[in-house]
């Protein structure tokens, strides 16, 4: 078992942080890499990015949004309990370079994935402008952490409950107008990554996105995670998850994420029945 040593609800009931004992993985992981977790015998294999690793303590930290059956099951795990299986580090590390000024754009729990990448970019000596957003104030995560590693931090909420009233892309436009930006990194809902890529394209700003297709093994064995990049099929688990946003077929990815929509609802229903007899 991989024990949970710390648990936090970053947004009550919806955004959960788990610090998990996994010394081997903690020692090897680099920014941008992910793990696959399975809660119990009947569980599904779920990919989550490591927001933090602590090689000394031998722990990794994941932050996830509760969206369906498996993440709802993860939410039930307490400190002292744990995951039956944790596999990783998987995927290629994020490609970090010193380019001058970078813009880091994060939406929802994507901020958790963005955080270690942003930190890496900062440590290389880049000037970091971060733009993070969420549907509403309560869902905005890692504000203090992002502030500490950003030269400039912009906050947005869709409902205007905090920071700029509107989307991260609005702020991004202003930044691109005012600054010479060498690189953009965007992590969040697929639609957000698509729009960010469309906005940066006319400015010729290279844009890296971190894709989240449905995965099973995470080792290049099943091909379920294939995404179309520049007209070519890539396996996100071994060729990614980071890709050039200007080349990704986001519409196809969005469709493919719906592959098990019906089953996901059915599974969540079955789960609810078990919880509330």
């Amino acid at each position: 078992m991989f024990e949970i040593v710390k648990r936090e609800e970053m947004a009550k009931g919806t955004v959960i942080l788990n610090e998990i004992e996994a010394p081997r993985i903690a020692r090897k992981a680099e920014p941008g890499q992910f793990v696959i977790l399975k809660a119990n015998e009947t569980g599904e294999r779920i990919p989550l990015t490591m927001a933090r690793t602590d090689p000394e303590r031998g722990t990794i930290t994941v932050i996830y949004m509760v969206v369906g059956r498996s993440t709802a099951l993860f939410r039930e795990l307490r400190v002292g309990e744990g995951y039956q299986d944790v596999i990783g580090p998987l995927g290629r590390p994020a490609h970090l370079d010193r380019v001058g000024t970078v813009v880091c754009v994060g939406g929802g729990t994507g901020v958790a994935v963005l955080y270690p990448i942003t930190r890496g970019l900062k440590q290389l000596g880049n000037r970091v402008i971060s733009i993070i957003g969420a549907r509403t104030k309560d869902l905005l995560i890692l504000e203090d952490e992002m502030k500490a590693i950003s030269d400039e931090l912009h906050l947005c909420t869709d409902d205007g409950s905090y920071g700029h009233h509107g989307f991260v892309t609005d702020v991004l436009k202003t930044v691109l107008e005012e600054e010479t930006v060498g690189l953009a990194v965007a992590v969040g809902p697929v639609l957000m990554m698509k729009f960010v890529s469309e906005i940066t394209r006319p400015y010729n700003v290279k844009t890296l996105v971190s894709l989240n297709p449905i995965m099973i093994d995470g080792t290049g064995m099943c091909g379920g995670c294939r995404v179309s990049v520049d007209g070519e099929n890539k396996f996100a688990c071994i060729d990614g998850p980071e890709f050039d946003g200007h080349k990704v077929d986001f519409d196809q990815l969005m469709q493919r994420l719906q592959a098990y929509r019906q089953e996901e609802i059915q599974s969540l229903e079955a789960h609810r029945c078990r919880l509330e007899p």
């Binding site: 009947t42 290049g220 099943c222 091909g223 379920g224």
Partner: protein, 473 residues
């Protein structure tokens, strides 16, 4: 060649009872039901106990076939399984999935005039009898050597190396990327051909012998080969299989409902998606299923689709019946279960609806031309023969390649041009000091027993290396 003439009143080969096709096509229980003790004794009595038995030469792990069959004939089932264990620690598996008709049974002298002894069925019987009755072999371990061996991959190749080297007194750790050991035996071959409980029981016997199995270890990622040597391992065996799915590379292949056989079978077998929602992993239940390819993997996928409730499941294959690579028994089972064969047909593109779900394929009819490099007649498309075929699930089972995840992490490891590891066919030695390889990652997709045979040879060579190196090439 025969030592004796077959006995006068010939006993026919004892047929193993099984589930009837119309019943089994809707459940995941095992199809053949196994021999009773009486049936096993009767079948065993057909064996001529040849003095120089040709059957043994057909078994890549050298089971003393007449000896174990002799024990079954005498009703001494304990001794029978102990005899088998001397050479093979996975008999319940081999008895079920070995292509006996091209390995041991093809060489049986009885096969010359009639039907060969059902060696596989008898091996299965002995192993099942032992498991059900809790018979355990005495620990086979020799004096400890204090040498440490790392085995990467827990498929049949890796498990054989582990079993052999633990018996020779070495310390063995198996590292497996998945959360369960067994390789293709657990993620690929379906429950109705090889119940997973049986695989886990045979793996448990190895653990009892002292083999340490660490799952969730993606070697090359979680730990590298260099780090394993640094941690004190003296020799390493690479048995990671051929786990890279091949696709058709035709338009529309990323539509929802089109997936590799690896994905489809992994969901069904390893993740037990056929028991969804009791198990959390979902699987697409197609009503009208097309499986591309005609090997064992394709048969398994089509038979799984039927069991998941398909009205129709079709094998779509570009060559003719004669060229189908699957075992004869698998093809027969598939046909009995109502699977249709659409031969000399190849998809040209996939068709989808607005929401990105597959709804059909455009296919071309083929004819056979001149033989190609493999000696099989090359399928050529008939111009203008396009026709449509409706389907809501497509499983692509057109073969697999070498997964580069591990091999690309090892500096200096020699690969052939398809990405498989270069290893000496006699010893399994790679070009790197202290590193051996075997099974599908060396030969490309083959069979369980060939992977085990490769494991046996590598284990012998590794043992020589670990105990003085005299057998080093």
């Amino acid at each position: 060649m025969a030592e004796k003439e077959p006995v006068k009143e010939k006993i026919p080969r004892v047929v193993m009872p099984g589930q009837k096709p119309d019943i089994r096509r809707r459940n995941f229980d095992e199809v053949p039901l196994g021999y009773t003790s009486e049936m096993a004794v009767e079948e065993a009595s057909r064996c001529l106990q040849c003095k120089r038995p040709p059957c043994v030469a057909g078994c890549p792990v050298d089971i003393d076939i007449p000896a174990f069959i002799g024990h079954i004939r005498a009703g001494d089932f304990d001794e029978a399984i102990k005899k088998i264990w001397e050479k093979n620690r996975l008999p319940a598996i081999c008895g079920r999935v070995c292509p006996q008709e091209t390995q041991c049974e093809i060489r049986c002298v009885l096969g010359k005039k009639g039907e060969p002894v059902a060696i596989g069925n008898l091996e299965r019987f002995a192993a099942d009898f032992a498991r059900i009755n809790g018979i355990e072999g005495a620990p086979l371990r020799q004096r400890p050597t204090r040498k440490r061996v790392a085995v990467v991959g827990s498929g049949p190749a890796g498990l054989t190396v582990a079993g052999d080297l633990i018996a020779k007194g070495h310390e063995v750790t198996v590292f497996e990327a998945f959360h369960k050991p067994g390789g293709v035996l657990v993620y690929g071959i379906p429950e109705f051909r090889l119940p997973k409980e049986i695989v886990f029981a045979e793996v448990a016997l190895l653990e009892k012998d002292g083999v340490d199995i660490e799952c969730n270890m993606v070697v090359g990622r979680t730990v590298t080969l260099d780090e394993l040597f640094d941690e004190g391992y003296d020799a390493i065996f690479l048995g990671v299989g051929a786990g890279l799915p091949r696709f058709m590379d035709i338009p529309g292949e990323n539509l929802i409902g089109i997936m590799s056989a690896n994905e489809y079978l992994t969901r069904a077998n390893l993740m037990k998606a056929y028991r969804f929602p009791e198990y959390d992993t979902p699987i697409r239940r197609g009503k009208n299923v097309a499986v591309l390819g005609a090997g064992n993997v394709a048969m398994d996928a089509a038979r799984t689709a039927i069991r998941l409730g398909a009205d129709e499941a079709r094998i779509v294959y570009r060559r003719s019946r004669q060229e189908m690579p699957a075992r004869a028994a698998e093809i027969r089972h598939a046909e009995e279960e109502g699977i249709e064969f659409l031969l000399l047909t190849n998809p040209k593109r996939f068709l989808g609806d607005d929401s990105g779900h597959v709804v059909g394929m455009e296919c071309l009819r083929m004819e056979l031309g001149e033989p190609d490099a493999s000696g099989r007649r090359r399928p050529v498309p008939i111009e203008g023969s396009e026709f449509g075929l409706g389907c809501d699930l497509v499983v692509v089972a057109v073969g697999s390649g070498a997964n580069p995840l591990l091999t690309s992490s090892i500096k200096g490891l020699e690969l052939n041009r398809w990405g498989y590891i270069e290893a000496d066919p006699e010893t399994g030695k790679t070009c790197l000091e202290g590193v051996w390889a075997g099974g599908d990652i060396v030969t490309g997709s083959a069979t369980v027993i060939l992977a085990m045979g490769a494991g046996r040879k590598a284990a012998d060579s590794m043992h020589g290396y670990l105990t003085g190196g005299r057998r080093l090439p």
